[in-house]
Subunit: 527 residues, 2 copies
């Protein structure tokens, strides 16, 4: 079922000589199938095909793109349990998670189908001519969003379906009218190939141009580097580490023609515990956070890696309950031995920092590649003075900072780097006494949460997933939700263009019936 080949457009191809295997972390053995890394020639072919496909694909109707996106979802569903099995054998993630993530992936594809079928997303705007205007006549101007060009999507290690081959970035780019070249994640290349086969089938069934989608395998960094530097690639989507995302951003910025890289990277997702909330319900909060810290072995971008409170009996109770509860949770398998290994290294590096104390850690022996959760604590001034403690430890690890007072809490928040999320745990009326903390936190995050946990990223129009650097490379965009389409489009104006040659979105008759800004008034009316 898995050939290990690359999809160069609709052709399976494996002309390269670099072979690798994926790994089953649960069984701690390599998976059977061989994967062939894309050769430089295959990379160039894929980009060339994408560039050709762009000429037609960028112009097809929203209705046809919707048909394509829905067919991708159907074809992924048609892969059935076989996909879920490969998914689990390449990630160690349980069947329930596989089903949930597949559901999310299908939901994203269908949400984008609805979005482009409805069509308002192009932000059509029309200013009609005023030939009699003095001193100079006013021209007719009509603007809408158009596709940027071929987009490269890097698969994410921690979301083999929802942020990889046909995940959020791909769905958004295809919806925008951009062909996609996926740099498949080496840890789940088999899953990637299966999903890619579904995309290719859907493209063929719905008459999309060859090259609208390619899927390239790679075990190292060369394929990705070649893609990002290719002159015909016009944008990049990435989900992963700060180091990886920054390297791609730097490569793209150094091109003769720099291109946008939207990288969703690291975050420690600070959680601020306010005193009254701690006083009234420290135990309940601690139990909730024990669950959030260990969810999915702590392998979510929104994992709460930093919890901050002011010293009090309440905070002590929180710390004690967290310590008690976290060790009751059964450890789970991480995605790959390399990720489990990095967790161990980063954890040990953190634990070696002066002043860091272990509150509790799971101490029983575990199977290979399982992550043993640890919660730690540190004084406020120690945290302030040691930048190493601000780094993400990817996995079920969290640090509780115990501040001396409100001023120190404010100072810590003001020195945090950019984050995907910030959370305030507060009793009613309490938060108004901490408006400085809230305001400062807001300037460092993309989403702020009241009395909740940062894990669980709802896919809906009002979600912002992205934040000030290094949470992402451009805080002006989101990686989740239909607005993520904005990463892959640019506004384009037609001046005095003949009505019959305008795209349907901008024609006088408004044949698509979309909402448009006409002479500064929103309307679905004809002109």
């Amino acid at each position: 079922m898995i050939t290990g080949k690359n999809y160069i457009g609709n052709q399976l191809s494996a002309t390269g000589d670099k072979i690798f295997k994926t790994f089953n972390p649960l069984l701690n053995i390599e998976n059977d199938w061989d994967i062939t890394e894309a050769s430089k020639n295959e990379v160039n072919q894929a980009v060339q095909l994408a560039s050709e496909a762009f000429k037609t694909y960028s112009k097809i109707s929203g209705a046809r793109k919707a048909t394509f996106l829905r067919e991708i979802a159907n074809e992924i569903e048609a892969l059935g349990d076989a996909l879920l099995q490969v998914y689990s054998s390449e990630s160690g993630l349980p069947n329930g998670r596989a089903m949930g993530e597949r559901g999310r992936t299908l939901g994203q594809l269908r949400a984008f189908a609805n979005h482009v079928e409805e069509g308002n997303w192009v932000d059509a705007s029309i200013d009609t001519a005023q030939p009699e205007r003095e001193p100079i006549p006013k021209v007719d101007l009509r603007k809408m969003n158009i596709a940027l060009g071929p987009v490269v999507v890097f698969g994410a290690s921690n979301f083999p379906l929802a942020f990889s081959t046909a995940g959020g970035d791909t769905a958004a780019a295809l919806a925008a009218g951009c062909p996609v070249i996926v740099k498949s994640h080496p840890m789940h290349a088999g899953t990637g190939e299966m999903v890619a086969s579904a995309v290719i089938k859907a493209a063929e069934k719905t008459g999309m141009p060859n090259g609208v989608f390619s899927n390239l395998n790679s075990s190292g960094i060369e394929v990705g580097q070649t893609l990002v530097q290719h002159p015909k690639v016009k944008a990049v989507g990435f989900t992963g580490s700060i180091k990886g995302g920054r390297a791609l951003y730097d490569l793209a910025a150094k091109r003769d023609e720099p291109i946008p890289v939207f990288a969703e990277m690291g975050s420690i997702n600070p959680v601020v515990l306010l005193p009254k909330a701690l006083n009234n319900r420290a135990d309940a909060i601690a139990k909730t956070y024990a669950g959030s810290i260990t969810l999915g072995s702590g392998q979510f971008c929104t994992n709460p890696g930093l919890i901050i409170g002011i010293k009090s009996q309440g905070l002590t109770r929180f710390v004690n309950t967290l310590a008690e509860d976290i060790v009751k949770i059964e450890p789970s398998c991480m995605l790959h031995p390399n990720i489990a290994g990095a967790y161990e290294t980063n954890k040990e590096n953190a634990l070696a920092q002066s002043g860091l104390k272990v509150l509790a850690g799971y101490e029983n022996s575990v199977e290979p590649n399982y992550a043993r959760q640890v919660v730690t604590t540190v004084e406020g001034d120690t945290f302030l003075n040691n930048p190493t403690l601000h780094h993400e430890v990817f996995g079920p690890f969290s640090l509780v900072v115990q501040c001396e007072n409100k001023a120190q809490l404010e100072s810590i928040i003001s020195k945090l780097e950019g984050q995907l999320t910030g959370t305030i745990i507060s009793d009613e009326n309490e938060i108004s006494e901490y408006s400085n903390v809230v305001n400062t936190l807001q300037n460092r995050v993309g989403r702020i949460i009241f009395n909740g946990v940062p894990t669980g990223v709802e896919v809906c129009p009002s979600m912002q997933h992205g934040g000030p650097y290094p949470a992402s490379t451009d805080s002006r965009f989101t990686a989740v939700g239909v607005d993520s389409i904005k990463r892959w489009v640019r506004p384009f104006s037609y001046q005095d263009w003949p009505n019959e040659l305008l795209p349907d979105e901008l024609k006088n008759e408004n044949p698509l019936g979309i909402s448009r800004l006409v002479n500064n008034v929103k309307t679905t009316a004809k002109i």
Copy 2:
């Protein structure tokens, strides 16, 4: 009237020891007033003040920002003729242009005032909670655009009012809720100080925080570099050369925390002349273009520097009429001896290219700093093989490329770099035979024009001013029109946030009465 000092917030300051003068190119003498370059300390003070001001200014209402923006317009008007005189003495531009550009500047400020007063620009989006949803409850999410942080604006040499101190970039950033630090253009620092005094007066009258605006003088590159590298600066706006814009982009990309630089840079604004149009009205087209090429001494970003046609009797007639007409136009003064000097150098460099022929040039002697227009011609294959001919010659210079056939025309278009505009001169029904040309051109420009000239950038919602690199550093944004506010904002989500603590834009009651996306439906209704 002109002190030559910097505005560090509302304080005039001149602690530096670098003094320079502006230049009157018409009289070919230095202007009287001394300008003091901002010291490193003053730069840091301005950024620090902006960063403090951001805490409150980013949160004030659209109505209050509108009052501020309108008051800036009023205070600029109140400067009266004195401003226009300084403008002309620092730019050589005539009084009519000064009045026109002032009108445009006031219009921009007032358009942004209306835009933020109306309030829909924040793109408010609300997804209400579904506590009973299975398998997990849906949280309440509310999203809107918020200000990025302090913005640095570089004054443009060619628009001392409309794209400098209180020009489009500044108006957009202030409207967004971002404090602005202007790096004043050295060629019109006196004009800049006068406008800055108007902004400061307006800020004081309308109760804006000190630091919401600063104006820094500089004659070299150090002030700009320090600003772009300052950790508290969060975005940059620039209008000018590719070299200058790219240098700032590179600096910003290399920061520990990279920040967005929106640079609107060079463009040769290709114009394609189709055969039937040439056959029917070559003379009229030539006369129109003689005017467009020489408008404002060719110192507009949208100056048509490249005209492309297929060899024919019509093209020959166009070329001959253009040659006849262009020399009838009286040369005018350029902005500065340096710009006039660069024009001469670049022109001579172009003329030295093998195969380039001069069609016509103004040959009479002119006053110092006046630009003598030149139109040139070249064969299609010569143009294709010499990248130097693709470079902008800033000034009244244009190159007519005479192609052998349609295929060569297509080939030339496909090899052009990114441009602000592209123009098609066509007879009715003719353009449909050139859909490849049109499609290829569209992929290289931000605005496409039918039977017009690229000069004349209407300020309206449907204008796109910005295009693929190197026309601008990020084609996903415009530098002109109210949508240019999007450069300075980021989406921000509130999750389960208490209604009374939400910004007005997202409260259940919708107190501002703005249009919002509520559970996927656009409405002004309450929740």
